[in-house]
């Protein structure tokens, strides 16, 4: 495995209390593979990735993150700095605010190269032009001297990708790379990342709130909710044989082309506060299948039989996989009708509310 994260716990002390942003997350990414990390805002997906490369400041961190055999979480600041940007590249969400407005695009790429390699300015510049060409910027030799505000949104994100790839990293963390872009540009940027992965062979951690983004890209998918992993599966299993009610909820709220007039089914309610989160499964207040046990005991990630790599943190019987829009819609409408905290009874479950 290229990156193997085990029991990652991240919390932030704030005046209101300790925010438990990530609560025991484990995952692995193989060389050249793509891991999709999916979750709502505040699910801990970005914090997880940023902690691994030491970008969360003022956080309490425990666990381990083995990258090429070395634990990133135990490295000194300087050792980690040397890995960051050279072996692990990062692409952020909003390319306009993520590029420095006062420096030329080419200069910002050169700076990344020169931070890790002793090369002349001329050589760094030559490589910057080459990288801009690689990510599909037209006339790279001319555009290298442009400022970020002279680039379009898609071109800026291409420039960010060029910075991330400047030192040929073995892993690229893409944190919502297409969220700030127009839909047509989104598709171009995703195509670009796929093409570059095929050419350069780097692994990608694709963080997104949009299951549609990773549908034809991820090898493995990890669903996160309230700082915890809800379900992991291969791309196929996740879309066709999901187990966790949260995953089916996410799939149900996904618009599908060719299904005109069909209502989207939202998941009712809000994610829980991460300051002193309640015991039990974090999803139970919004879950159509919640049982008394769900409120008391945290379901561990358990292997779904017959599907290697498929795990789910849910007390429902593990054989109950599969997904149907109709069943799910009915289930959610019922839950909405009863109020977000009402507990629908699954087969055989006893009365939950006192």
């Amino acid at each position: 495995m290229l990156l193997e994260v085990k029991d990652l716990v991240v919390s932030f002390p704030t005046p209101d209390g300790l925010v438990e942003a990530v609560r025991g997350v484990s995952f692995a990414v193989g060389a050249g593979k793509t891991l999709g990390v999916v979750g709502e805002s505040g699910s801990g997906k970005s914090v997880t990735a940023q902690t691994v490369i030491g970008l969360t400041r003022g956080a309490r961190v425990s666990g381990s993150a083995l990258f090429e055999g070395r634990d990133l979480l135990k490295m000194s600041r300087d050792q980690l700095r040397q890995v960051r940007g050279s072996k692990i590249g990062v692409v952020f969400q909003d390319p306009l605010s993520s590029l420095h407005p006062f420096y030329k695009v080419g200069w910002q790429i050169e700076e990344a190269i020169r931070a890790h390699e002793k090369v002349s300015r001329a050589e760094a510049r030559r490589r910057a032009v080459e990288l801009l060409g690689l990510v599909g910027i037209p006339h790279p030799a001319r555009r290298v001297d442009d400022y970020p505000h002279q680039f379009s949104g898609g071109m800026r994100q291409r420039a960010m990708i060029a910075i991330a790839l400047a030192l040929n990293p073995s892993l690229v963390i893409a944190d919502e790379p297409t969220t700030a872009l127009d839909v047509t540009v989104q598709a171009q940027v995703l195509e670009l990342m796929k093409r570059l992965q095929a050419e350069l062979g780097m692994a990608i951690i694709m963080i997104t709130h949009d299951l549609g983004i990773i549908a034809d890209m991820a090898d493995e998918v990890m669903i996160m909710y309230a700082g915890k992993v809800m379900e992991t599966a291969s791309r196929h299993d996740l879309y066709y044989e999901p187990h966790h009610p949260y995953t089916t909820g996410l799939l149900g709220s996904l618009p599908q082309s060719g299904h005109e007039g069909e209502r989207l089914v939202p998941i009712p309610g809000q994610p829980p506060s991460l300051i002193g989160p309640p015991p039990g499964c974090p999803f139970w207040p919004r879950c159509g299948f919640a049982m008394p046990k769900c409120r008391l005991e945290v379901p561990p990630l358990r292997a779904v039989p017959g599907a290697p790599g498929h795990t789910s943190a849910c007390w429902l019987p593990l054989e109950l996989t599969g997904y149907s829009v109709e069943v799910d819609a009915a289930r959610h409408l019922a839950a909405v009708a009863e109020g977000a905290t009402a507990v629908a009874t699954a087969s055989g479950a006893e009365e939950a509310q006192p």
Binding site: I53, L55, R77, R81, Q82, V83, R84, G85, S86, G89, V90, F92, Q93, D94, S97, S98, L99, H100, P101, F102, K104, E111, A112, A115, H116, Y147, H149, Q150, M160, I163
Partner: protein, 319 residues
Amino acid sequence: MARFLARRVLLGVVVLWVVASVIFILYFVTPNDPARVIAGKEATAQTLAAIRHHLGLDRPLIDQYGSFLWRYLQGNLGYSYYNSEPVSTIIAQDLPVTASLAVGGAIIWLVLGVLAGVLAARRPRSLADRTVTSVALFFYSMPTFLLGLLALTIFFYWLHIEGIDIFAPPGYVGLSQSVSGWFSHMVLPWLTLALVTAAIYARLTRGSMLDVLGEDYIRTARAKGLSERRVIYRHGLRAAITPIVTEFGIDVGTLLGGVIVTESVYGLPGLGSQILNSVTDGDLPVTMSIAILAAAFVVVANILVDAIYALIDPRVRLS
């Protein structure tokens, strides 16, 4: 950009003309009779009339206004009523003193204030941050004359009594006479002028840096694996400097007013002391010239700030 600056220069000239005109009007509105100032209380009506004729005060107002503007345009600032010296000579004498004080003070407050602000912003709520913030508050709330007198008492007078003469007594020694003498005479005035203003810059820099350090491009700089020093100064301070430049332009422009107190406390014969004396003496040509010079400082500083913006921010340069 060039057109923008040209417009600013033109506007500056208009501002100076308005200031000069207002000063000219004040000249006639004030109950001062220049002839009496020159001739003294015992002078006869005849003497006064002769002096008025000599100064051209008996000519029509519009005529006087015209020749007033024309004289200033030619750089002829008139003669002091007090000792008949050319005003330009007086200013040429006093300017180096004020320039010594202002340039030294400005450098100290800029460097000290910005560095302290960056230090505080790097670790908000840390001991360093709290120290900078409270020291800044202390100097911020300290009137310049009090700070000056305190510094003079403690660092000159008390040390002098103990036989330790590190700092020179009040007064001024020209740079051309003795570099070390000049320096030892200037240190306390510099600090007096600088510390109060440095406090403002420390607070301003801290706030601006805190905003910038939360920006996405700072996260990008860290993600690129740059050293923390480079992230803070090359990426952070570069973007945070804009409001500091604005403040610096205003402060340098209005510095001529700011040095009055410091020059008086330390007995420095600069433009600040001069304008104070000339106002007390009713020496209008000197007062007017220094006031117009002060306005010119403000105008020039503002144009320079605009030019510096363009150097700092490419978005200004290209729009």
